[in-house]
Symmetry: C2
Subunit: 281 residues, 2 copies
């Protein structure tokens, strides 16, 4: 059973309506008139980071990827719960946690640690309060919407090959997500590759995403643009908004949502060749 | 850094007030006039279960230990999020998840899986709605309270040495916890050993717990009573309630909370020798 089959099997279980059939990055539950956003992501040594990585960077990335899911829902973080392998240099893990909690004003709600052999694994659950209804999701984009992305694409790829800053210390777009919430029809974070994530948004929304490669705001230093557009870990926000809407934050238009066609994703008018991004095994 | 030092280091981070200084099994957050209970526990191969354990049993135990934390808070489960290593026989893991979700009427809110080498690890976050205020905690017991435990103690120890049913398939006391909520001054689940957990409640409440070994309702087949009182994994509810209160569920009185003395725990009037239970490394 590969990861896709596992997720498909999970979908056969009794799902909370807020789980949205496990087709989004976060669940939404209604409590006392508020909508809460819940997300859980786990990372493992040798899969999401290299053996030997500073545990401070691991802690940062662990929390950042979960906060990024809240950002895509225009949610204000309430707190995080951490499950951690007790690593050799756990003091550095604490240090990295302290850095990211301080940076984003997020509180620790709970923590659990396990001492075990083998590669380390870490889990984080983030919970936040939605600020806009409906809560932005992958679904909701409409034909005619403009497609945008915040920041630049490819810094994580350069970081993976270079000094690692953007790769290990992604900056979740919480401020931008909150500001964009009232203006978008659909929103998600770019975690598995811009092209793959755009295709997912198009599929979830019943549209075709038409993207112009030349319009994508690649990070300085990116030479292989197609590789960068397929690389994940940038944690920028990808969103669909009505044509002509005045955006409250800086973002780059990269394409248009079209009526659903034969292909869910077009790059410069054609179906892009090869893999679109990081497909979970 | 051992586990106790790690938790102590976590306490130096910016904590949510609902984290209760990480001295309880679950966090409580106020949302829209409701109190939500959040808990996260992780389990690892070779630590919490033996290599070769049926993944269906792993899934059951993973969810059960988290639901048990909700039970101790008199909380109704809303749902769970699962983070799982993609194990060889993942279909059995799904099967066990299906069993426990159906048994307790709990919904899946989200899931994440990671494919990595080495011992498997699993995390679960459970979220529930508190049904009583204040939400029961380890704190709150008062001198003069009677101390009770639900069910029997020692079945998990027998299961560990025997067929494993009670050890691998603990039954969280959700129904009992909900019923007891309005009647208790303090409540927690017995996960690390009755004596150790009773001492923790006494310490958190600023009391001394006086327990009679002969009053503890040991499971049939328990020969070494002291070993059973020190063994965790029973997931019964330990609670302090006012003397003479009429309990809505069956429970056994095992002792009394006293004014704080030199020792936080007395067994038959004396400080018990040796370790009291499973101290996290």
């Amino acid at each position: 059973m590969d990861e896709a089959a596992f997720i498909a099997a999970l979908r056969t279980l009794p799902l909370h309506p807020g789980a949205q059939d496990l087709r989004d990055d976060a669940a939404v539950i209604e409590v006392g008139g508020e909508a809460l956003v819940l997300t859980h992501d786990a990372i493992a040594e040798g899969v999401h980071y290299r053996t030997g990585t500073d545990p401070a960077d691991i802690a940062w990335k662990l929390v950042a990827v979960n906060l990024s899911d809240l950002a895509a829902k225009a949610a204000e973080p309430i707190g995080v719960l951490i499950g951690a392998t007790l690593v050799e240099d756990a003091g550095r893990f604490i240090h990295g946690l302290r850095e990211i909690l301080a940076e984003y004003g997020v509180k620790l709600l709970g923590g659990d640690t396990i001492a075990h052999a083998g590669p380390a694994t870490f889990g984080c659950t983030a919970i936040g309060r939605a600020t806009v209804r409906p809560v932005p999701a992958r679904t909701g984009a409409r034909a005619g919407d403009a497609l945008y992305v915040t920041g630049t694409i490819g810094a994580a790829l350069l970081g993976f090959d270079g000094d690692g800053a953007a790769y290990l210390r992604p900056r979740p777009r919480l401020v931008e997500g909150l500001a964009l919430g009232p203006h978008v029809h659909a929103m998600m974070d770019v975690s598995d590759g811009l092209l793959l994530d755009a295709r997912r948004m198009a599929e979830a929304s019943g549209c075709t995403a038409a993207i112009e490669l030349g319009a994508i705001p690649f990070a300085q230093g990116v030479h292989d643009r197609l590789a960068a557009a397929r690389w994940g870990d940038d944690y920028e926000l990808l969103f669909a908004a009505p044509e002509g809407v005045r955006l409250p934050v800086s973002a780059t238009r990269i394409g248009t949502m079209l009526e659903k066609g034969a292909e869910p994703l077009l790059l410069d008018g054609k179906s892009p060749p090869g893999k679109l991004g990081y497909e979970h095994r």
